[in-house]
Amino acid sequence: MAGNNPNAKLMNLTLKVWRQRNMNTPGQLVTYPVKNISPDMSFLEMLDVVNEELLIKGEDPIAFDHDCREGICGMCSLFINGRAHGPERGTTTCQLHMRSFKDNDTITIEPWRAAAFPVYKDLIVDRSAFDRIQQAGGYVSVNTGGVPDANEIPIPKTIADKAFDAATCIGCGACVAACKNASAMLFVSAKVSQLAMLPQGKVERKTRVENMVAQMDIEGFGACSNTGACAAECPVGISLENIAIMNREYISAKATSENVA
């Protein structure tokens, strides 16, 4: 049963998939021929089909991260033919469909490659470094309760919209994977600039940027050399401007540091 396109031609493909048993075992690309793939399938549904076949044969299925399959949770990753989240711009892997490929294509599928994202298994990497960066300062220090009425903090719409644009980051790590230095600047700057723009975040803006950048360095992410690959590959279109804002925030914070530690 095909859905929208009853005449869609099924495809045969060759997959080259990174297989790695665990963090301590070296991995390699393994070739899998796949047949009868509908162009209406999502990329991950294509992998589901491959995995069902592997399982029936008693072979270990390909491990990959995924959850919402709606392009919002940021759990899916995959470096497809050398591109983070595959060939379509502004798209997560779960929203990539097989109609973006042609019959007889060879598709290479690798995990995110970055020292700060070690491989757990196959295509699954450890992105906990991102959480630790957020824990270093990606918040406004307010406890539950005891806050002013929501409308007591008016925010100009243009600023609210700009902060929103930065807040849409889904934390997938494509920016790191796309960067030749494996820099996390786009990810970190999205949160720094979101909170620096808003009145609620201004109180802690100096310590926030200092602590988050320090944690980013501790985690082993590379330096930014402004190639813009991160923004080009970002599935939700986080702007490079955030990096400029973060650099300014950082220099100004360092010049008049409030960090007492």
Binding site: M1, G3, N4, N7, R21, S38, P39, D40, M41, E45, D48, V49, L55, G58, D60, P61, A63, D67, C68, R69, E70, I72, C73, G74, M75, T91, Q95, H97, Y120, K121, S128, F130, D131, Q134, Q135, A136, Y139, V140, V142, N143, T144, G145, V147, P148, D149, A150, N151, I153, P154, I155, K157, A160, F164, A167, T168, I170, G171, L198, Q200, G201
Partner: protein, 644 residues
């Protein structure tokens, strides 16, 4: 067993304030002596864990995802209700309460729902203070919209990703407590059993999803915020990993499961495109504000559409049936979710569905584009239209969208009292995981409200009342109860790994989903439910005989994870069928074909079914035991919902 809802005495509007004063407090210096486990880090779990940490408790939080930020609350699009009355259009706490209890078809507790409406206003304040970027007007104040057929504009929103922004707010609060050392976070960790010591919930047993290590965690109280069980249908709008395992294993340890048959089926989802389909995608029901729902008037025309002989645009205006506008002139395309879904099924069952499968109806924007212009429609719905185009490869600006209902939310869940505590002392359930606030049908923009209400503003008070009465002494994880639970988990794991059959876990899951959808979906009848019960029993027996799970426990083994979850779905599915069979009335998301008005609308039976059905697990292969909590309505008059 007597179900005591522990609803405080006094007038509705004063119950919560009085209760907050009456609950016992834990001395600030003593809070650090108490440990709380929170399972799940969506809106209900992250907000609770963060707030417990702020209060001074020691918290351990668990999620199966790689980061707490990924919980499926993140996928909510539309918005969050709050009785702020910022728009001066007549909203109030009582009106939000009234709409919610009526929308739930009078199958929720008055006191719980009223409290939800009360604390809704605090949620918005809290989120704004955290830096959640809600939509704003040019004057700098917050914007609102009317949502899901509400007569007032009380919905706060953040473009089409309100859930994400609220969750990132709760995640940031959680991160702050993790940094302070008050919360210890365990990502990629799944709860597989509940540990009861001397009749109290004192811990859980988990499996580390990377190493397979089975571990015990001891605490003074356990909070389950593990979401809903819609994935029992295999296809739903839930995330792939959403599951019932934590709640179900607690049920097996004695926690009652309430109203399991109440399932919400959302009318505006993208239809199934083939047998490869792994999940369904919802589009915000705000689309129904401007889109017109229709199918062809005749089966002949529908057939031609299904085979691709003609296109939607080939069908003359006179040959189109705008069935919602025709049947419900007052509400038209904005009838509540259950009514919209059921009517889509009706016209498709008649053979008038569209798309190659015939399981879809049109949602047409042509008139809206003609009226308001392409750019106005694009500004409102651009992201949804893009999403639709990406998935279906069709342009909704040029031809109508095809939509079909999909399982979206489960109103049923673990039974809890007014304090959100289950019948097991020390075990709490919050958010979608419990049954408490939405009755038989949840209104749009109310799920986010309930998750955050429970986590930020209800359980932080009520849990203190329990802990204040309990000694701070800790239970060692060497206690026999922990060892027994660990052995139980390993026994299930070893059994799953040893079968080495011929059918995959997904294969069983899809088969279960088909039974549930066919017989316990949008319309149910006694005959079908009885048949489904036998089919599920057979399928479950076959699962334990023939499932194929390979690999070992001591590794990242996604097939094993799924097998645990599907094993539980296979039990829950039967309980849902039992509950649906017992409830011989139509209410909210539960439509019994035997109980209809002469116009084929849902017919409630308040005399016989105005109760919460709370089911007790009676052991493997035993029929569950039904306990009833009568619902009393003192502040609203029960009326038949009518959207004519």
């Amino acid at each position: 067993m007597i179900l005591d809802s522990k609803i405080p005495e006094g007038p509705l509007a004063e119950k919560w304030d009085k209760h907050k004063f009456n609950v016992k407090l834990v001395n600030p210096a003593n809070k650090r002596k108490y440990d709380i486990i929170v399972v799940g880090t969506g809106l209900a779990g992250a907000s609770a864990a963060a707030t417990f940490g702020e209060l001074g408790y020691n918290v351990k939080a668990f999620c199966y995802q790689d980061s707490p930020r990924r919980a499926h609350s993140i996928a909510a699009q539309g918005g969050i209700n709050a009785a702020k009355n910022y728009q001066n259009d007549g909203d109030s706490i009582f009106r939000l309460f009234y709409d919610t209890i009526k929308g739930g078809d009078y199958r929720a507790r008055e006191a719980n729902v009223y409290r939800l409406a009360q604390v809704s206003v605090n949620i918005i304040d809290q989120c704004v203070a955290q830096g959640v970027p809600f939509a704003r007007e040019y004057g700098g104040l917050l914007a609102n919209r009317s949502f899901g057929g509400a007569q007032v504009s009380r919905t706060f929103y953040a473009r089409g990703q309100t859930g994400q922004q609220l969750l990132l707010g709760a995640y940031s609060a959680l991160n702050r407590q993790i940094a302070y050392g008050k919360v210890k976070m365990y990502p990629r960790t799944e709860m597989l059993d509940l540990v009861m010591v001397d009749g109290k919930a004192r811990g859980i047993v988990t499996r580390n999803l990377i190493t397979g290590k089975v571990e015990s965690h001891s605490a003074h109280a356990v909070v389950l915020a593990t979401g809903g069980y819609g994935n029992v249908f295999f296809l739903s709008t839930n995330a792939m990993g959403s599951n019932t395992t934590a709640a179900w294993r607690a049920h097996r340890r004695g926690a009652l499961f309430a109203n399991p048959c109440y399932t919400q089926i959302h009318p505006t989802c993208i239809p199934v495109s083939g047998s490869h389909q792994s999940k369904l995608t919802l589009m915000s029901e705000s689309l129904r504000n401007d889109g017109r729902v229709w199918v062809p008037k005749t089966i002949e025309l529908a057939k031609k559409l299904q085979t691709g002989e003609i296109k939607a645009s080939d069908i003359a205006e006179a040959d189109r049936d705008y069935y919602l506008e025709r049947k419900y002139p007052a509400f038209g395309n904005l009838v509540p979710r259950d009514v919209a879904s059921r009517n889509a099924k009706l016209v498709c069952d008649e053979g008038r569905g569209v798309g190659s499968s015939g399981l879809a109806v049109y949602l047409d924007f042509a008139d809206a584009i003609k009226r308001d212009g392409l750019s106005a429609i694009s500004a409102k719905y651009g992201n949804l239209f893009d999403m639709y185009a990406k998935i279906t490869d069709e342009n909704p600006y040029e031809s109508p969208m095809r939509i079909y209902p999909a399982v979206h939310y489960t109103m049923g869940g673990l039974w809890v009292d007014y304090n959100l505590m289950t019948n097991l002392p020390g075990l709490y359930a919050t958010g979608e995981c419990n049954f408490s606030d939405h009755g038989a049908n949840r209104l749009g923009a109310s799920a986010l409200m309930q998750g955050l209400a429970d986590g930020y503003f209800v359980i932080p008070y009520t849990i203190g009342n329990y802990l204040a009465e309990m000694p701070a002494t800790k239970v060692s994880t060497d206690h026999p109860a922990f060892k027994e639970a660990e052995q139980n988990v390993m026994a299930i794991t070893n059994k799953l790994l040893s079968i080495n059959g011929t059918r995959t876990v997904d294969d069983f899951h899809k088969a279960l989903g088909q039974i549930m959808w066919d017989y316990c979906g949008m319309a149910r009848n006694a005959e079908g439910l009885k048949f489904a019960k036998q089919e599920i029993k057979k399928l479950r027996a076959e699962f334990w005989r023939d499932v194929k799970v390979i690999g070992v426990n001591e590794e990242l083994n996604m097939t094993l994870e799924k097998a645990h979850r599907v094993a539980d779905f296979l039990e829950l599915g039967e309980l849902m069928v039992d509950d649906a069979l017992n409830r011989n009335e139509s209410c909210g998301g539960h439509f019994r074909e035997e109980s209809q008005t002469p116009e084929n609308e849902a017919l409630r039976d308040d005399e016989n079914y105005a109760y919460v059905a709370a089911w007790q697990y009676a052991g493997e292969g035993q029929e569950p035991i039904l306990h009833k909590e009568e619902l009393k309505f003192e502040n609203v008059k029960l009326t038949q919902r009518s959207y004519k």
